[in-house]
Amino acid sequence: MLEIKHISKTFNPGTVNEKQALRGLSLALKDGDFVTVIGGNGAGKSTLLNAIAGTWKVDEGQILIDGVDVTKYPEHKRAAFLGRVFQDPMNGTAATMGIEENLALALRRGDRRTLKKGIVAGERKLYRDMLARLGLGLENRLTSKVGLLSGGQRQALTLLMATLKKPKLLLLDEHTAALDPKTAAKVLETTETIVNQDHLTTLMITHNMRDAIHIGNRLIMMNNGEIIYDVSGDEKKGLTVEDLLKKFAEASGEEFANDRMMLAR
């Protein structure tokens, strides 16, 4: 489904702030894979997701989604293949627009925007049904402005928008990190439900090692722009947080450095 071949990215080349964020990274995802991504601060996790999403172009390498070479596609064109949820709940939705307007934008992801009506009456039933699945009572607030919603509600809505039109690949960039623990657990539960129901191929960055172990069928650990550990199936299920920390020390030769991740143990 996703094939990444030797991609590299250096930020601010030739300056004192030069940072090689990805170093010839390769990764292949099978259809229906649910992969969790962990790693220390500055390991390149978000950079990897941004490279796939096309926030900027990679310096080297190739990215294929569902067999299509998207390496040269601009961000908005790649969106046809992708569903994305960001860490900051403010980023995924348009605050001054209504819930149904946001969903209508998402339903048309990958289509040409024409002069047809932005929302057709028939869509509202679909939106109501989908919102009811979230269990947040949003199905009765279709015309409410998204800016009025809480962070957790906005993140759940973003998740719905990312999956309303089934994406080839779902990219979740620490999408529960900015939420309080209770809300985070709820959003994560919703994530698993949607991913399982729609059999979505998913790449999820998380700072919570237990989540990384218990969710999904494959786990990758990143450090310094490379994948240093890749585990799936039964071996992954049997992992403990201690195993992961040991693996990290072995592979990188240093202690695991991620403030939030240490706290989340």
Binding site: E75, A79, F86, E101, M161, K182
Partner: protein, 306 residues
């Protein structure tokens, strides 16, 4: 101070306010919907007037001349849009560059710094002579009202389409817009084109109204446009929630601006000071929401118990 002088001047002020209101709706599209302060308008206002008057003087019809003004306004918006997106220049600087360039363009269109047109010799749609003592269907205020309503209806329809919604999303949150497959560069260019088309159309109406086009006619237009947007929101913001009514509020805001201006002039203020006054008023009104946020906001209570 003769009150009759003021009362006699008010219909003219209202007509001017209506005409500038169309420009202000253009400013609303960039400033409020696209979240860009577009300074192109100071130039494209005059471009609209210049194109219109030269077309008329060369014997074209009033409607064709106005359509040409609208089209050239869109082209100036396109230029600013390309400066901003294709060439990566910050929006505000892109507008200043286009505005400066348009100064020369406007001079070249008109051939000199101003051109006059005689309403008796040319069949104009609106004029300051058509305010009083004309059959109602020729009344300038009524005609500009009708044009404004038609424009608002068209804009209301457009911003409800898929394309219009994508423009609104671009202005609100361009990261989200791109993630939903919206070409935000295209949206910005399109928005700037529509906005400046409206501004130039307003310039063509103003030229008819005052009977001449002048190289300086758009100077400070952005400030007047912002004033109209802010006044409209301050006065009608609580009542008008619907998008169409919000546009109407901008037009009404522009009328209020010109009525107040007329009163201030009637009270005998030195007219040289008017632009300074406008600038200060707009500055203060722009600051109010910031001050509210900074000094008077209450901490927001968030859900959750952590």
């Amino acid at each position: 101070m003769n009150i009759m002088v003021l009362i006699n001047a008010l219909p003219g002020a209202a007509a001017q306010g209506l005409i500038w209101g169309i420009m202000a709706i253009g400013v609303y599209i960039t400033y409020r919907i696209l979240d860009v302060a577009d300074l192109t308008v100071d130039g494209s206002m005059c471009t609209g007037g210049a194109v219109f008057i030269m077309m008329m003087l060369n014997g074209r019809s009033v409607w064709l001349s106005m359509a040409a003004a609208f089209a050239t306004g869109m082209i100036s918006g396109l230029v600013t849009g390309l400066f901003h997106t294709f060439m990566g220049i910050p929006a505000i600087l892109s507008g200043i560059l286009t505005q400066l360039g348009l100064w020369s363009v406007n001079l070249k269109i008109m051939g000199k710094a101003n051109q006059a047109i005689n309403v008796d010799k040319y069949d104009l749609l609106v004029s300051l002579r058509f305010i009083k003592n004309v059959p109602f269907y020729k009344n300038t205020i009524l005609l500009v009202c009708l044009i404004t309503v038609v424009l608002i209806v068209v804009l209301y329809w457009f911003f409800g389409t898929e394309l219009g919604c994508s423009l609104r999303a671009t202005g609100c949150n361009d990261k989200m817009a791109r993630a939903q497959g919206i070409n935000t560069d295209l949206g910005r260019v399109l928005g700037l084109m529509i906005s400046n088309g409206l501004v130039a159309l307003s310039g063509s109406l103003l030229t008819q109204y005052q009977g001449f086009a002048d190289i300086n006619m758009g100077r400070g237009a952005i400030v007047i446009g912002l004033a109209a947007v802010i006044i409209g929101e301050a006065v009608f913001g609580k009542v008008f929630r619907n998008f169409g009514f919000k546009l109407l509020a901008v037009s009404l805001g522009s009328i209020i601006y010109y009525l107040v201006l007329q009163v201030v002039i009637w009270m005998g203020i030195d007219t040289d000071l008017l632009k300074l006054l406008s600038a200060l008023v707009v500055a203060v009104f722009l600051a109010i929401p910031v001050w509210q946020e900074r000094y008077f906001s209450k901490p927001v209570k968030r859900g959750g118990n952590s």
